[in-house]
Symmetry: D2
Subunit: 292 residues, 4 copies
Amino acid sequence: MANLGFVGLGVMGSRMAKRLLDAGHSVTGYNRTRSKAQWLLDAGMKWADSPRAVAEATEITFSMIANTQALEAVTGGADGILAGLSAGKIYVDMSTVSPAAVRDLAIQVEAKGAQMLDSPVSGSVTTLEEGKLSFMVGGKRDTFEKVLPILQAIGPKATYVGANGLAVSMKVATNLSLAVQMLAFSEGVLLAEKSGIARETAVEVLLNSVMASPMVKYRGPFVLKMPDEAWFDVNMMQKDLLLALEMGLQLDVPLPTTAIANQMLTAARGMGLADKDFAIIFEVLARMAGVK
Amino acid sequence: MANLGFVGLGVMGSRMAKRLLDAGHSVTGYNRTRSKAQWLLDAGMKWADSPRAVAEATEITFSMIANTQALEAVTGGADGILAGLSAGKIYVDMSTVSPAAVRDLAIQVEAKGAQMLDSPVSGSVTTLEEGKLSFMVGGKRDTFEKVLPILQAIGPKATYVGANGLAVSMKVATNLSLAVQMLAFSEGVLLAEKSGIARETAVEVLLNSVMASPMVKYRGPFVLKMPDEAWFDVNMMQKDLLLALEMGLQLDVPLPTTAIANQMLTAARGMGLADKDFAIIFEVLARMAGVK
Amino acid sequence: MANLGFVGLGVMGSRMAKRLLDAGHSVTGYNRTRSKAQWLLDAGMKWADSPRAVAEATEITFSMIANTQALEAVTGGADGILAGLSAGKIYVDMSTVSPAAVRDLAIQVEAKGAQMLDSPVSGSVTTLEEGKLSFMVGGKRDTFEKVLPILQAIGPKATYVGANGLAVSMKVATNLSLAVQMLAFSEGVLLAEKSGIARETAVEVLLNSVMASPMVKYRGPFVLKMPDEAWFDVNMMQKDLLLALEMGLQLDVPLPTTAIANQMLTAARGMGLADKDFAIIFEVLARMAGVK
Amino acid sequence: MANLGFVGLGVMGSRMAKRLLDAGHSVTGYNRTRSKAQWLLDAGMKWADSPRAVAEATEITFSMIANTQALEAVTGGADGILAGLSAGKIYVDMSTVSPAAVRDLAIQVEAKGAQMLDSPVSGSVTTLEEGKLSFMVGGKRDTFEKVLPILQAIGPKATYVGANGLAVSMKVATNLSLAVQMLAFSEGVLLAEKSGIARETAVEVLLNSVMASPMVKYRGPFVLKMPDEAWFDVNMMQKDLLLALEMGLQLDVPLPTTAIANQMLTAARGMGLADKDFAIIFEVLARMAGVK
């Protein structure tokens, strides 16, 4: 069993750390707010007083952070992860941040004699809890092979995609489909509803059809009742789409459906719905169709 | 066990009939080309010389026909299904044809004292063979309940959506997502590929992600190698999109992603790719991106 | 000076007839409602009791009719234009109807020994009154050359585009830009307005810029105050876009901006704005942007 | 007559300076490459050895610069325009640069006791030479009124839009229509051409129709023969669209046609056409339609 660290014990991170504990690993954790990690401490996790302390105390440090800026905060400075890394250690970041930020960080990690992987995930809290989370991994292949058995304690499928930064690129290339699929789903629900089919029935049929991706299965019912709290809101989804559109521009890849879905999310913000789960794209289309 | 009929023993229809035979039902079949049905006759199916003869000989007649015009050919005239129907019989059409044609046909069936269901399917040959096909069903609810156990011999899930014609509407509302999802999938593959990730790897990651609907899992690999024979070609897919767009126009439902996917399929035809599986939408986008 | 006939003395037709009178031609007219033509009779126009009587009494008969169905009503039957045509006469239809209907009509005209031109116009009432209307003309070239000097009494520019029906095709290819230009104009006005520029100012600047087509100059001010009566409403505009989309489908021409503008007009109908001038596309976008 | 300065004597700037000379004003100019300004010196322009020297020697200094970075080069530093400004002087920048850069510059100008206007133009070299250029002006209104008579020597129409930076915002809101109009124009030309109308004829008819904006009149013929040298290439046009899309994102204004035109320009780059005039969007669509 390995000696692991985990920085960033939020909704996703904490559940990942728990799965590592459950698999029998030693886990040392750090979170900005300690109280939120109490249940993990009760389950056997050790505490460290800083990201640096986590990295110093363990062989492999994982992090799961909200965005590029927050990632820089936990990796840099006197108390940061970088300060705690040394030869032979491995740092695995699971956040979805900009590919450029990941590449920069990997260079700094290697300057310490350590190795980095970027390993963003595909899936939600539910996917994670069902043990079905999948990973895309960027970095050196032999580092990937060392870490693979540990990742599999979290989710069954990890695919090596290439050099550092490429896993984040792959994540962005994946996420554009989420917004587009929800928009097409919404078009179908509204067509069915205006044909005379109950919205509940339309959703049920679609969720049993060949177009029902895991994401649609999970988020489709939101068009019947939006969740009280957004799991991935309009602003978050649009940040991923913008990253995709920026990549498309740099790499000369036209992204027609991404561009249209992005404009519909802009309309969601125009209509005052920015903090709703991005499934609210249905509501934007419904208003355009004159459906209450 | 029931006394069933089946008209239209093509790729889908023949496999459906086989599942009915396997479930222990008596099946009497008719196909324009008898030789194609030999394997079913070998498996115990009885032959009838016309659609009318099928309907006369059985309690419930199923049909699976390519398009509206062909459906009219097997239902009308002296040898048609209508001529063979009488009080108490049931006719179940599984084709994807225009809702208006279905409504007209249902009226003629009722004039015979019989009942009709429209029961299009969601899924491909593969889905059917895996026993995972799902049905949407339109017609009278008590007729639906009578036929339900028999449908379940073909696929596990049948959802009653309302009056005759509505199941076909629901089917169209489902199918628009197929083209849109393949286009968004293609955007993601090309973004990943131009980032430096091998196309094979990009496809693998996407197929293991939350965006991988059954349709994407099935058709996504086509961007690595197009099938020799299209299973659902550009023209077929575009016919369904046009039916969706026509419904959107009549019902005042804007369909932005459907409209864009439709234009990309038009481009596929412009580029001479009309007879390819509609996954060729990837090739259209690849040419726009300058990818060979 | 020529001996001319005019059938269909509506808003556009009557003003055209007046220009022909003003140019010194003899004009014999017919309109379903005679009272609407009184001012033309006062100005020297002769009256005929049927479309047939117009064609019998004159060398060249013009018509300006609302749609394909109405055109069939004035050309067919015992009292129709066709019944009044004979060898050597010319019939010029200026309506925007389906290319197929025009081609059929031309064949019937030739069977009478007469010649037909389809000659739809580009421009509004205002353009007409300013003497700036332009024509596209389909039919035999020598017939076009005979009629050209007379058309020029109505508007300065007539372009021969080819065989019968092609002028109507050309008209449709022109009109798609009207909806698209108004949508792009609306995007610009809303961007400027939300930047802090008064809507009036934004409109003024745009109307003085290189993007100000005659149509935009005319219709742009509608975003400040919609006219009480639509000059070309959402339904009319969408009919032209649908004709374009149908042509695109048949001819394999992708029409991305036409498709998007069409969906926005569908949204206008969904929002209950079908009978407004199509400049109401601004209102659709404004609602999406949360602008009152 | 006024004592004026002009920095940036490129294709547009030099022709503006010439119009100021022709109007009887004294003009002192500076350009990075003096030789390009020889024809203006021959026409009576005075030379200054730096942007600073221009500002020191004159009451009102104009500049016309390619982009934000180049503007910073001529305004900042020891030899820059800012260094030459003092109380009572006026600085008018006609470049299309980012609104934020303009606002920053205006603050620095006011710190010198001087006043700034941002005054981008609508129109091309041709528009300028025909004396039809129009201006949008941002800054203090009384400064605008002082400069107005001088602007009118260059072009007839200048509209005050509000505070510094707003004129550049207005320019961006205008320019998005250029790409969209060319794309819609291309759709029309290809529809007509595939209907059987010669491309030359289709262009001629469109240029005589109500959709023919000054920009379309100027650029439309490029679909018959692309110019040897681009006047506004794909990269330039796309920069303006990206600025519009960024504004739309910040201000919550959906920009559906802008987004689509932008993706088609990305396709132009994917096809290797980045350095062509943006009218090459026609070629992108033609390839999608299978037209050579």
